[in-house]
Amino acid sequence: MNKYMCKYFIIFVLPTLTAFLLSFLIPFILGVLLSFTEFTSIIDAKWVGINNYVEAFSNREFVNALKFTVKIAIVTVITVNFFALVLALLLTRQLKGRNIFRAIFFMPNLIGGIVLGYVWQLIINGVLYKFGVTLSYKPEYGFWGLVLLMNWQMIGYMMVIYIAAIQNIPNTLIEAAEIDGANWFQILTNIKLPTITPSITICLFLTMSNAFKNFDSNLALTAGAPSRKTAMLALDIYNTFYNTLNGEGVGQAKAVVFFIIVSAIAFLQLKLTRRKEVDSL
């Protein structure tokens, strides 16, 4: 059996591998290579070394976008997971119509970011109208607008993951704890949270990478206004690539840096929370 597997391994993997190569690996390598060149379209690139990287980091807007993105990521990771967990805890209790609630909370996740961006822009501008300002009045407005939007969009999804995890906790554990006289808070901190740590890992990872990669709702909601102070990394890369003269190479370099940052954070986070998982089990 094992021998058979070895023999046909390559053949069975081949179709997927080719697709992976064509649609992911080759474009990725090309992308990294292009970041060292100056180009208009990918067929006429000229090698310029690390110039693009130097320019990317001497660019004030890039650094601003980086800071803004980190701030957004921190705030949304905390708020999204907090609210998702609270909702999950509520909706795993014996509540009337809890399935309907679950469906409702999940639904925003099915709407595209561009649409959400425009819808929330209308809503927020409608509210701000009363105060005689608009969303682009101050960067803080855009910041909280984005946080609100991303919470609304992501909470449902994370909630579903938490619900699945909580439902998997063996009833015996909780019953035993209740008989021992533990109150709800003790059950939560000593039984529920430790057992769902794998889900917490996944949710933290998902919210973090979603927050970093956010582009569509950022573009639709603020498009960086005022003065690109609310532009996140992906939007800044887009602006560099398309709206700057000879900006393609620099944009590409920024994208590579962006990739490194995101993967580094994801890796670190995965490692840290993994260790906790082992401890708890």
Partner: protein, 475 residues
């Protein structure tokens, strides 16, 4: 037996692999009928060699979404007449560069595309075919309008446009009939400099309730991507005068192209007219960040305001607004006065930022077919009929007779202003603005200025700085 099995499994694998490949490929070409015609890049290149003499399909990447449907009709007609299929793809508003960049790298790239002037030509020069020997070039009424470099001709203008302050004459007449007005003017012909314009506008604003309007000017739209009337068109005025003052250049556009840095010498003039717009508008200053061009045009079309800055292309938009109350004969142009000595002899801004270029990297047959299509469009009876009556272009070609001028009132106004004695049209020097980023920075600064977040001095600083930075990137 085992061998047979092996062969079958190998075959199966090939089929699967093939399916994966073909799935990938059809994703690369979004347009379904182009997949049929050129199913793979391999056969495409071999085809190009095979049919050297006749291309059966050309690809036109259109810049103007507002007239996309008309191009589809033209393409259908042309195919019927000549058998050459014209694939028309229209880039969504404001995304032309992105679309072009990705389309041109494909196996079926656009054969006709557009560059937006000398700066756009710098980006695309490797792709622009020399059009010096074409009939199309010989049709030009003024060959100097084309984009040239050395001996070659690389960009072909195909429409002349004009912009200024559009006003609704009915409302202005109503004002002139008021008994308690504070100015002496009796006709718009008297308004020939900034001070007079300001006096008129401010007094009209004071009487807005009697005139039944919400403000004199439509909203100064400043939401992201909607500010081009200010960072491009209005910005043309101060920079035209700045470049004109430079010595040693043939014209203001060349002077602008050579400017590594700018002084923004006429920034106070820009501020004057801009302040006039925002202070006498139907919308409060702080709310302008949420307004779009469509909003402003709708305000004008519905008669809520008397004036709006825009160009002759806006007529289609005004006409298209539901409940439009502006009569065709009441719609007129006024030059944008910014309070310089030349005000009284200044006409409206006339020029073009739309140049056709032929892709030099497609097969010769396709290049020829593309040129033939353009020549057909601008010289055949049918093509000209489309250009004049449906596209509404003021085409700068000598193939158009006197009676073949567009019907729409704003295009006629542009021609009127161009022909007025002693009036000098302002050329479109904004074609030399270094990049979209420069314009965006300008727009961002204007937005913060109207929201009172920054002072005017800082707007000026940012504009000067951005020009320097962006210009350096083009080196």
């Amino acid at each position: 037996m085992i061998k047979k099995k092996k062969i079958t499994s190998l075959l199966l694998i090939f089929v699967m692999a093939f399916m994966v490949f073909s799935a990938c490929q059809s994703q690369q070409v979004p347009d379904s009928d182009s997949t049929n015609q050129e199913s793979s890049s391999e056969s495409d290149s071999s085809k190009d060699v095979a049919k050297e003499e006749k291309a059966d399909q050309i690809y036109f990447l259109n810049f103007k979404p507002e007239i996309a449907e008309i191009y589809d009709k033209i393409a259908a007609d042309y195919e019927e007449e000549t058998g050459v299929k014209v694939k028309v793809v229209t880039a969504a508003s404001g995304t032309y560069e992105q679309t072009l960049k990705s389309e041109i790298a494909k196996s079926d790239p656009p054969t006709i595309f557009q560059v937006n002037g000398p700066i756009g030509y710098q980006t695309w020069k490797e792709y622009c075919l020399d059009l010096k020997d074409t009939k199309l070039y010989s049709f030009l009424t003024d060959p100097s309008l084309a984009i040239t470099s050395g001996d070659g001709v690389y960009g072909m203008p195909y429409v002349v446009e004009g912009y200024g302050i559009i006003y609704n004459n009915a409302i202005v007449e109503k004002y002139f009939a008021l008994t308690d007005r504070g100015t002496e003017f009796n006709s718009m012909n008297e308004i020939n400099n900034f001070d007079k314009l300001k006096a008129l506008v401010e007094d009209m604003q004071a009487h807005k309730d009697e005139l039944g309007i919400e403000g004199v000017f439509a909203s100064t739209s400043l939401s992201p991507g909607e500010a081009w009337r200010w960072e491009t068109h209005l910005a043309n005025m101060p920079f035209y005068y700045e470049f004109k003052d430079k010595e040693g250049y043939d014209d203001s556009i060349l002077a602008g192209l050579a400017s590594e840095e700018i002084e923004f010498k006429y920034n106070q003039n820009y501020k004057k007219i801009f302040d006039l717009y925002i202070n006498n508008s139907c919308t409060e200053k702080a709310m302008l960040g949420g307004k779009s061009v469509n909003d402003s045009m709708a305000e004008f079309a519905l008669g809520k305001v008397a004036m709006v800055q825009n160009g002759n292309w806006a007529w289609a938009q005004i006409k298209g607004v539901e409940g439009n109350v502006v009569d065709e004969k009441d719609i007129k142009f006024l030059p944008i006065y910014i309070g310089v000595e030349e005000d009284e002899s200044q006409g409206i801004c006339v020029g073009t930022e739309n140049y056709f270029a032929i892709n030099s990297k497609v097969s010769e047959a396709k290049q020829k077919a593309s040129i033939e299509f353009l020549e057909w469009l601008f010289s055949s009876e049918k093509g000209k009929d489309y250009v004049v009556n449906e596209l509404g272009f003021i085409a700068p070609f000598n193939t158009f007779e006197e009676d073949e001028k567009p019907e729409d009132p704003l295009a006629r106004e542009v021609l009127n202003w161009m022909e007025k004695d002693g009036m000098k049209s302002v050329p479109w020097v904004f074609a030399v603005f270094p990049s979209q980023n420069f314009k965006n920075t300008f727009a961002d600064a204007l937005l913060e200025y109207v929201q009172d977040n920054i002072q005017w001095e800082e707007v000026v600083e940012r504009v000067i700085e951005s020009w320097k930075v962006e210009k350096a990137k083009g080196e």
